[in-house]
Symmetry: C2
Subunit: 300 residues, 2 copies
């Protein structure tokens, strides 16, 4: 199937606008030191695509539910994602000066404030879930949402993946399986969480959960492959950071291990699998499919 | 009142041994990259006094309850405290090479792993609370425990306090009120949380909560004053880090603002207030009072 940009873009823009507005509201509730709040806000407002929160909202819509009820939870996911970007960019980690075309957090606020802003965003994401003010979201659901988020984000998930990614740095000879393992932990699990969190809110049954988990698993890998291809073929203006840096750093990527054509083939295989599982979940698939098409075709 | 060391030490030792054992069990459940788990373990095992978890257990005992049920929650608090020590020691923050007489985390594992180990410990502390496996601890209680921990640890609490502390660095002219504000956020709120978390588990009533909050508030300040005095009068062997560093760094401390004698007077005032509120809470106060005495008299 194909979707034109004229179909994809308005949906994403509208969802992003809602997320952006709520992020501002949530941060404005915090009464902390000015430099800390400014640093948190700086990276939140740095123009992310809001893919993860949008996936959460689209999953609610897949169950015929109003996505409004998912917006605060979606913002918690985006805060956690933003913390990971701030810490990943630090000099001791990936040492990036630019993110989305703007100076990275530590370049503007200094390393100490960048570390602290990340810590505060991570902490606030859990506070936000515990504070969700919606009678339909029970305490039991909140506990499940918090537990799964921590698992996706912690030593067995995102933080573990970043640790492995640093170990694998400058190793151009990973196997595809090793590369996939790193990316599933580093980015995949938060992708999966975004979908499952929407499904938990929508009270999906276990079979639907399993199918949606597989959908998000394959979509997450597809997302990463597209990222690697963009590092070679992308437009620096659109990506907001130098292209070719993976190659220069002798990093193992999907194109370096499989060639660009091989990586594109693998990307399409994973998207096909993702869509297959999406259809199996027997939900209103339109919006999640829209996002999947965007992930393949995106140019930033 | 007075308590001799022969009374205080065995109680603390016994409680610490239980915490230490459970910390090992909790970390062994994690299946993450070896260097990450090793880094987390290194700082957890670096010989902390376990004061915060012990206060949580002592609060349960104050309500006539078996402290065993509080041990996993107490470990979550200690993990969060340990994360804060690892991040505070980083070169971009306080740049400390020694902690409890051992090289700091980043000195052993490098900055990237130290940042990630802190992130993982923070994340795991929330996962542990969400995963508490005790039928007496309801989902509603878990949500409350998570919300209050995030508030105590985040931008309005510990992270905010560390931010303010860095701003105040090299400013020898704070007022006592400004200094107290920083310390209440940086260390006080997690002290208070430790007591209130025990009280939540024990289903304390609101009046008891309020009195115990005041107790822990004053005890937290007393703890910090003692810390500042130890930086001047302490024994480097016992403290495990150089003495006199606050003075060299022209840092505002209780002794620098009030003289050592003035700081000791203030320490005693806060302990007196703490004990007054403890008695008002109308609980079995022995163990919490034991800890309070230890905090005044401790030499490390």
């Amino acid at each position: 199937m194909t979707l034109t940009n004229s179909h994809i873009i308005p949906y994403l823009k509208q969802a992003k606008a809602k997320i952006d507005e709520q992020l501002r509201i949530e941060i404005s509730k915090l009464n902390g030191p000015k430099v800390l709040i400014d640093a948190m806000n700086y990276s939140l407002e740095a123009g992310g695509k809001r893919l993860r929160p949008i996936m959460l909202l689209a999953t609610l819509e897949a169950f015929g539910q109003n996505s409004e009820k998912g917006i605060p939870l979606a913002c918690a996911v985006e805060m956690l994602h933003t913390y990971s970007l701030i810490h990943d960019d630090l000099p001791a980690m990936d040492n990036d000066d630019l993110r989305r075309g703007k100076p990275t957090n530590h370049k503007v606020f200094g390393e100490a404030n960048a570390i602290l802003a990340g810590d505060a965003l991570l902490t606030y994401s859990f506070e936000m879930i515990a504070s969700l003010d919606d009678p339909e979201i029970t305490s039991q659901m909140k506990v499940e949402l918090i537990k799964q988020l921590a698992q996706a984000a912690g030593a067995e998930g995102m933080v573990g993946g970043q640790t492995e990614d640093l170990i694998a740095e400058n190793n151009p000879n990973l196997t595809v399986e090793e590369l996939e393992h790193i990316h599933v932990n580093k980015t995949g699990k938060l992708f999966i969480y975004s979908v499952l969190a929407g499904a938990i809110l929508a009270r999906a049954n276990e079979e639907q959960m399993n199918h949606l988990e597989q959908f998000a698993y394959h979509l997450g890998i597809a997302f990463q492959i597209r990222d690697d291809i963009l590092d070679i073929e992308g437009d620096v203006e659109k990506i907001g950071k130098p292209v070719g840096s993976d190659f220069e750093n002798e990093k193992s990527t999907y194109p370096s291990l499989l060639t660009v054509d091989g990586a594109k083939k693998k990307l399409n295989e994973h998207v096909d699998k993702a869509i297959k599982f999406l259809y199996k979940a027997n939900v209103k698939h339109e919006q999640l499919e829209t996002i999947s098409m965007y992930i393949i075709h995106r140019d930033n």
